[in-house]
Amino acid sequence: MSTLLEIRDLTVGVGEKIILRGLDLTINAGETHVLMGQNGTGKSTLASAIMGNPAYTVRSGSILFEGEDITNETADKRARRGLFLSFQNPEEVPGITLENFMRTAKSAVTGEKPRVMQFRKDMNAAMDKLNMPQGYASRELNVGFSGGEKKKAEILQLLLLNPKLAILDEADSGLDVDAIRIVSDGVRRYRNEGNALLIITHNAKLVEELTVDYVHVLDQKKISLTGSAELITRITEGGFAGLGDNKADKGGASASREAQ
């Protein structure tokens, strides 16, 4: 099993404020990880740091992707290596159609210009699976999209770009029950033995159709607890407070192995 992502002793801040301190995490190909935690514990910060958001500064530690240090790489280089982030609040970009943007992105990550007809065919097929009317392809990127439509457009990008590691930052927030099912189905279609997922969520619904390998709880600026899928049920039923002292005992990648 090859290691895709390895985070070692990572400390991340915004300005003077430290949000993550000494965090470790390892994700191998073929694994699905779920990251949970109370609001404001730094889950989105971790996603941003992995993707290379310049608003966040890595103070120390390192991020390795397929064994290579990407800590100081820009987001586009990371994307071309096979990293993908589904944004919690995707940006609206007037003037660029979803199709045009996707074709440009596909060309950027693969290094080859996709053939127009084949790309359109693939895109239409993916949109059908996500129950998205094909008219969305010619709409301006995320402009005037509802919250749910934006989330579907993110999953559409996931399916078309087919990254090695996808991070989904609250891909289910703002979605109704049916839309969660569609998004969950889309995520399931993406997953295979060669790629991996890191899902940030508060909602068990999104992951109940997926085989979850590890669940991590983020607290006190680091991963305080790692367990199996059963941890989601415990958190859903008893909240984070119900986890008690376990949080203090286990942490990081090594803990993942023990939990399994």
């Binding site: 820009t74 586009d76 993908f84 660029i96």
Partner: protein, 360 residues
């Protein structure tokens, strides 16, 4: 020949001189001999030639200024003068493409849409070589009741040329005039548009895209004058400034007493790519009438960091993302340009102009 034109693009209400937005002066020279080629589309049967005599009762106002428009009309050596017959919708656009070699091209254009007709006119100004040329244009539009006029002006002159364009429209009851101006070239471009919404429920749009790099000087003056009841106007200007480009935009919504229920909106989106580029904006809303809505929105500055990061997270390099964002601005006005061939030419032209080093 020496050309000096003063008090161009005057702000309807003058402000402090030190702000530098009250008006503009153009001083340039061009060869005495005019050399150019023109390609014009054949006029459909339902469109006839017209002349200035037919406009004698119309009271046009100018945005660029009396001195310049009088000069252009007096010395005019070209022009499209068309009249669409009552009730006919002219599907095929009337197009004139000028390619300048040298000298001063002065085109006096008249677009007359009789009641209930609709007409699209495309004027393209290009240059063959790097020789400094002068283009001065005056376009007068009459849209009678319930008529529609679409005017598309495209300017891709060379970097040594000077361009002046004045558009003045009188819009009748239920009529609409839509002006699209794409300003990509020239050392200096002075563009003005006066939209007189005379009839009730008349509507007007002015959509502009500009690209400024090097030492280019761009000067815009848009005026929507609301006279009739329930009139609507929309003035939108988008573009990108690089290097030491100097741009001034004036946008005026003028609601005259009696224009009850009228609405006007002006929007400006300017992307700044250089600390040495200079952008000046003078939005103005004048109200004599109480029952009106006028709005102004502006976004002027560097590319939004979050948008850039979002695009980079999909694999686009910073340069590619910026290029796509500038192209996206062009795409919003290309929707108004008839003909895929011309749209493709403009995409290629802009792409050629956006050099990677200009985006860093």
């Amino acid at each position: 020949m020496e050309i000096k034109l003063k008090e161009l693009n005057a702000l309807p209400v003058r402000t402090w001189h030190r702000l530098g937005v009250n008006g503009n002066t153009v001083e340039t020279s061009a060869d005495d001999t005019l050399s150019y080629s023109v390609t014009r589309s054949a006029l459909p049967d339902i469109v006839t030639e017209t002349n200035a005599e037919e406009l004698r009762c119309a009271e046009f106002r100018t945005a660029v200024g009396e001195e310049a428009t009088e000069y252009i009309r007096r010395e005019s050596n070209a022009g499209v003068r068309v009249r669409a017959r009552r009730g006919y919708e002219v599907e095929k656009p009337v197009t004139a493409r000028y390619s300048l070699r040298s000298g001063a091209l002065l085109d006096d254009n008249i677009i007359f849409a009789e009641a209930g007709s609709s007409l699209t006119v495309v004027l393209i100004f290009d240059a063959f070589n790097g020789k400094p040329c002068f283009h001065g244009g005056s376009t007068r539009i009459i849209a009678e009741n319930c008529a529609t006029v679409n005017l598309i002006q495209i300017q891709t002159l060379n970097n040594a040329s000077t361009h002046i364009s004045d558009v003045s429209a009188i819009i009748g009851n239920g009529a609409s005039v839509n002006v699209t101006q794409i300003e990509l070239g020239g050392a200096s471009a002075t563009v003005g548009c006066h939209l007189k919404l005379e009839g009730n429920t008349a509507s007007a749009r002015a959509d502009t895209f500009y690209f400024g790099n090097g030492d280019r000087r761009l000067d815009f003056n848009y005026i929507a004058r609301h006279l009739g009841d329930g009139t609507t106007s929309s003035l939108t200007a988008s573009g990108a400034l690089f290097d030491r480009c100097d741009k001034t935009y004036r946008g005026t919504l003028d609601f005259i007493r009696g224009a009850a229920g009228s609405k006007g909106a002006e929007i400006e989106n300017t992307l700044l790519f250089s600390p040495d580029a200079r952008n000046r904006s003078a939005p103005l809303i004048l109200c004599e009438e109480e029952d009106v809505e006028g709005s102004h929105a502006a976004s002027i500055g560097k590319i939004d960091a979050n948008k850039l990061y979002y695009m980079q997270s999909r694999g686009l390099s910073e340069v590619e993302a910026k290029r796509l964002l500038v192209t996206a601005q062009l795409e919003t006005v290309l929707k108004n340009v008839p003909g895929e061939e011309e749209r493709e030419r403009l995409r290629d032209y802009l792409s050629g102009r956006i050099k990677a080093n200009a985006l860093r």
